[in-house]
Amino acid sequence: MTARRLDTGGRIDRTRQIDFRWDGKTLTGFAGDTLASALMANGESVLGRSFKYHRPRGIMSAGVEESGAIVTVGEGARREPNVKATMQELYEGLSASGQNAWPNVRFDLGAVNGLFSRFFAAGFYYKTFMGLPPFEWGHGTGLWMQYEKLIRKAAGMGTASREADPDTYDHAHGFCDLLVVGSGPAGLNAALTAAKAGRDVLLVEQDFELGGVYLNDPEAEQQRLDLVEAVRAAGVRIMTRTTAFGLYDDGTAGLLEKVTDHLSRPDPHLPRQRFWTVRAGATVLATGALERSIAFDNNDRPGVMTAASAQAYLNRFGVQPGERIVIATNNDSVYGTAAELAQAGAEVTVADYRREPSSETPTGVTVRTGMAPLSAIGKSGLQGIELAREAGTSWQKAERLDCDLLLVSGGWSPVVNLSSHRGAKPVWDAKEACFLPGETSEPIFHAGSSAGIWTREACEASGIAAAKKAMGQAADTLAPGGWTTPITPLYEVRLPNRQSKAFVDFQHDVTGDDVRLAQQEGFVSVEHLKRYTTLGMATDQGKMGNVIGLALMAEALGKDIPDVGTTRFRPPYTPVAISALSGRNVARHFKPLRRTPLHDWNLRYGATMTEAGLWHRPWYFARQGETIAEAYVREAATVRETVGICDVSSLGKIAVQGPDAAEFLNRVYTNGFAKLPVGKARYGIMLRDDGMVMDDGTTWRLGETEFLTTTTTAQAGKVMVWFDELLQTRWPDLKVHVSSVSDQWAGVSIAGPKSRETIAACLETGEDISNEALPFMGVARVRLKGGIDALIARISFSGERAYELYVPAASGEAMMDLLWPTAEALGGCLYGMEALGTLRIEKGHVTGVELDGRVTIDDAGLGKMASTKKPFIGSALRQRPELLREDRPQLVGIFPKDRSQRFNGGSILCRPGDPEGFGDGWITAVTHSPALGHWIGLGYIAGGVDAWQGTAVLANDPTRSGDVEVEIVSPHMVDPQGVRMHG
């Protein structure tokens, strides 16, 4: 290919020169160029190497269907592989390079793969490695993985940057009456028609200019300008550089707007891309048609490209793409292009497969009829084309024409992808030799060449008609077609018994032979063919070659194309970066962060925070020079000796109110709540329908018809949803209202022998909270100094005398300012999650790690809490035989046999010498117990404590500590009688 920039013509701005880098060289283009047109103008013809065989590849098109000029753009963290050079706008400083080649695309050592091409045929991975020893029957997986690495390196598709993406991406939302996709003759007319009728119209165009095929036709420029002006004046909202990549339910469309990909120094406040979710009342698809190739030997050589793209390079980008040009066609669409190329000075020959093509031969163009391309000659630079002539049912070599550019038109494929996303099955039209959009009951209307309409006037009319239909008005449907002489289908040209490399999927290196091989091996369904050969599964989704693959499959099966069918297109139409999908939901914004009302107070008093679900909670309060281990052991010991204060505001809190509130709780919890007296709290467990434990917590009866239910921090949302569901769907007759009040209260646990003394000193009027006035599980309303109303409940998670004190969230810090100096003076401490964990493990109290959804109330050792006097949610299904087995894993305590040793959470519990399979149990939590002076743990083991008396058990942790011998003990490891808690 000997392309050169013309001195005049095209839409490029020759006064605005742009320097860019290609494979380390500095080249020059103009504003209005794509990377592809600029590279072509600079005479660069080999732009990449192919996926499997490392064959040299060049520009094959001028648009979204590009399968050859797939390059890497950007450097460092902004390096992006697999960019279509035909879609990348040129900007000052753009840096791009070829892919899949070492050391470069012109001299590539990997091209040796081509010599072994039979190894890369369809199904190569599976056949070569998976089915043979040592890989059969699942053996040799490790070896397979080694091979696969090498193969993947030899075959490739560029590499992404391993650095974090430095750009930002936005999610945006939109609504419109009518979404018009595509701004060619059909799209512009559709948008104009609907907007003039008062509709809110959104027009999206993937190109950076509006106009579609008008852009390649200088004579239509005034018409284009007038239309665009009218569309703007009618109030159409226009988005360029925006691709509608998918259509979804109920008129939802996914759009990707490339905001700064064309700018050399983007405003740092702009996102790189916006991911739009648009809800449209109706959609007009004016998405055009793509010219497809023909399968013949070496049809992938640089210098072979679609006929229409030559028109784009000539008329839009001012590049004469070749000097001696052969155009191989089977349809009318190339003749205008042939005339324009000849007029620009090229020597043009049309080889028309049809024996009687269009009547008029353009001036300066030679037409050879009954000829089809057989084999392209030349490797990196095209030298000629061997033509063939049909002889009976076979082909016969005819003649060789010298050329530096071969343009191919094998027909046109309407872009039916978006309606196919909605399940509208494309329908084969034998006369036009293409798939037309299928029927859909949704308000989606195809217009223009996406409906198989080939003439410009008819496309314009079909745009108007589609808009009318979208508005519910009557309009005629325009028939597909429009060529003077019909197309004669032509998919492949080959001589019998001659080896050839005729590609049907250029990006994935799938040949006609691969398709036939797959058929021979029994892959007769088109969906299987696709997966076995990977036809159409590359980033271009096989836009230039899918139809050829289907036609060859049909031929091999002795069927017609409609009987073979087509695969369903899937979003995205063109690739969407993962960053655009994630938008701003990255790093610190990946998930919401919840802070308790005491968050700032905790930080001021030296808390080190940890994450507990979405919450940030104090982990420990280290004193000068303390490690975490020293801090939590001190904190836990202080609680048992004097007093400690811990922020428990994150616990879920649900106000359950109404005449039937007691009855409701009685049905939800396994234990009785109907008779709970006012002024009392009760610990409760709730099950799921299937009999497994859902959550636990305390419920306080504040009045006859008023309860405050607490849940675990992790399950607060789930329990609230569950209460809503039960009341609205199952028990609508219950007069109960539930509301989440988790964020309304600040809560602390005050635990330890001096907890009562601490609180008493903070009360305003010396209210009585003695053991008699406020016994274990008592609840009262009190007032703290400064007039802070509070709820107090005598509840213990730590096993010590303890209270939970709740005040309105805004008074949280004031409460702490009262409590903390008092506790500190008594020798107390602030404590965090780590010490909280120690205290509860010592007592054998369960949390989310023990109640993991696979556990029954009996497994957790809480079977006594299941009432036998009343039914409750889960009471029926907890009686399933499997759940009553004696040897189910049950909650136990764990000591190291040698008390100086430690072991890890997550270890498997097993018999000595038998660390195989799932073992007999597992460890859920461990801590160093200050009360006992050694490491302890909680876990589950088959049969529970009784089954393991006097039996040796190993805690097996092969990746960390190895084996530690342990003893299975009761989970109530400290103060099993609860003397301290009740005192």
């Binding site: 979710t277 809800r279 329908d689 609205q728 029926a876 299904l877």
Partner: protein
């Protein structure tokens, strides 16, 4: 994105809702046999076509809804409050409005 016309909030994206489950189940009484509960909890039809489902407008009004949805096409045929009293009140209000 399915669009659901919540009787309380209007038409919203399905991402505001969470799917509940089979809306046709008549849960047995709490003291019913474990066999009855087994059938209600585990024995579900895998319907290809219109299915009655419960959905929760969890990021909206937090009301539970009963929705008839075609599992093949995602087309939604009806939406009503799951609470029968609310459903009755809404429909009598609509009749009065007409």
């Amino acid at each position: 994105m399915i669009r659901i016309n919540c009787p309380f909030c209007g038409t919203r994206d399905h991402s505001e809702f969470s799917y509940g489950g089979d809306g046709s189940i008549d849960y047995p009484a709490l003291d019913a046999t474990k066999e009855a509960w087994h059938d209600a909890v585990f024995m579900r039809d895998n319907i290809c076509g219109v299915q009655l489902e419960t959905w929760h407008h969890v990021h909206g009004c937090r009301m539970w809804l009963k929705i008839e949805r075609d599992t093949l096409t995602h087309e939604i045929h009806s939406v009503r409050p799951a609470h029968p009293g609310l459903a009755a009140a809404l429909s009598s209000e609509q009749e009065a409005g007409q």
